[in-house]
Symmetry: C2
Subunit: 314 residues, 2 copies
């Protein structure tokens, strides 16, 4: 069987890396020949989870077509979030829980998307569907992915499927998910050791919204005010990056994983900032508090998409 690579999005998080590992295990059991790789190194939270369950970080690739003809994607579909030469390979399988955008194929493929909190929740259902037993360490990394994406089941993206998956996987992995989950989330909140550039790239995704290039980064913390002591340095780095990479809007969500609140720092063109304010309210001094907003996918991107579409119709 021809080898295929499996990977999640750029700036990988625990879902991108954990689900790639767990999907590769399943697909190999089903007769495929796959290797889980990553488009970047694990962040602190993911490194914590990998270590906890005895995994090494997947090999990092910059391009895919030099190795394989076919790939499988997890936790993303938009080409600008994928491997740099995605247009040179065939995508044969996707499992994802995001909107579908600019994802074009020339042939039919396997594609499973569900609006659940985490890709590993879909994967957990696939394991059941194919009647494949989940090993303890695979269950642990899938559990870690769901805890990460749902902020320990507190994000509004959380569904009853995510809750069921967490309970079932925690039982297989042999951990108390509430206790382990808090440790895992806290492992990702150490911002002291990181430069501003690290912080704005840690978990950042690009979106094409009606022709505008939007960058939405997110960092998790346990103390918003501590993070905001670095506000001016963060904004300066965001502005430099926006200028280099031609973003019309750069948003940094600083999310308190204990309280489920966020503060957003924002920079960009006046036009793009106006659209942002149309969706989220007035920005003061490049900053806005968004209580209860923790999900880029459910509470930020759809609202921005609508606002940018509206803008063109004005």
């Amino acid at each position: 069987m021809e080898k295929e690579l499996i990977f999640g999005h750029q700036n990988p998080d625990t879902d991108a890396i954990g689900t790639a590992i767990a999907y590769s295990y399943l697909q190999n059991k089903l007769g495929y020949n796959t290797e889980a790789v990553a488009l970047g190194n694990p962040n602190d939270e993911t490194a914590f989870a990998l270590k906890k369950f005895g995994f090494k970080a997947p090999r990092v690739i910059k391009t895919a077509a030099n190795e394989v003809n076919k790939v499988m994607l997890v936790d993303h579909n938009e080409p600008q979030q994928s491997v740099s030469d995605i247009e040179k390979v065939s995508v044969t399988h996707v499992i994802d829980h995001h909107r579908i955008m600019n994802f074009d194929t020339s042939s039919p493929l396997f594609y499973i998307a569900e609006p659940v909190g985490c890709t590993s929740t879909i994967l957990w259902k696939l394991y059941k569907h194919f009647n494949v037993q989940i090993p303890q360490n695979i269950a642990g990394i899938m559990l870690s992915a769901i805890i990460s994406d749902t902020l320990l089941l507190k994000s509004p993206t959380t569904t009853s499927d995510d809750r069921q998956a967490v309970e079932a996987l925690a039982s297989i992995a042999g951990v108390d998910y509430a206790e382990y989950g808090l440790e895992e989330l806290k492992a990702g909140t150490n911002i002291k050791s990181k430069s501003e550039e690290d912080l704005i790239n840690l978990d950042a995704k690009s979106f094409d919204l009606n022709g505008k290039a939007i960058r939405v980064a997110q960092i998790n913390v346990v103390d918003l005010s501590e993070a905001l002591t670095r506000k001016s340095a963060l904004l300066k780095t965001m502005e430099t990056t926006s200028s280099t990479d031609h973003y019309d809007l750069f948003m940094l969500l600083i999310t308190n994983v204990l309280d489920s609140d966020s503060v957003v720092l924002i920079c960009g063109s006046n036009e793009a900032k106006n659209v942002f304010e149309h969706a989220f309210g007035e920005v003061h001094d490049s900053q806005i508090s968004l209580p209860g907003i923790v999900s880029r996918k459910k509470q930020v991107v759809p609202q921005l998409t609508e606002a940018f579409n509206l803008e063109v119709n004005l």
Copy 2:
């Protein structure tokens, strides 16, 4: 529960209409409030199948947003094959077996695609997944859809899943699938009663291939030479339609459903015809024989897509 419409593609075939009916039944059992509708009247083959299993033709809609906010798609995803105002409604569910192209959403959704011969084969697996019993008439219309799309399991798109589904559904429906299948396919081959305009629109899909507008129509017959007595009239109508609707290339596959061979009639710009010839060989007098070619999706569109992509790189 807010009402949603379920429909297949324009110029509906037995998969588009039959799977919409059968998916609506399943979704309503699962607690959704859906109605199966269609983007056109049933063709002769579909009308035969509907009558055989006691269904009325679904209501035909021209637009969706005047009735509902949300829709579910079967057997297609490309917007130019969908309802005219697809951009005004939210797509919440898709089940399909085609490539994904120009399908963009602002929010996550349920999307299931598999490279199998027919959407009803995926649906048959969904019924099993949700443990919902398939009524006899629903099994009959799903069986009809698979027979239609796979040309009675002879198309190269046919997979082992399609074969399993046909056997299981025929058993529930209480028919001999080989005998019923031949009757069904033959019911769709009566071209005598149809105008040239009818014939080129019966089962026609548009594709955007690297910026070129391509129309690929297909008719099923039991006698190729009989169909070719109308060649010049068919070509004239294809040329008129291409000019009105601005197609760069118009192909008509005339497929013998008994022998699994096709003859293609073709008109379009010299540039587009050159690309076609690059993919399929030399065209003589606007005509080419393609033995063994019966599947637009697997044997025509990917080859054309590649040829048109290559063209731009020359």
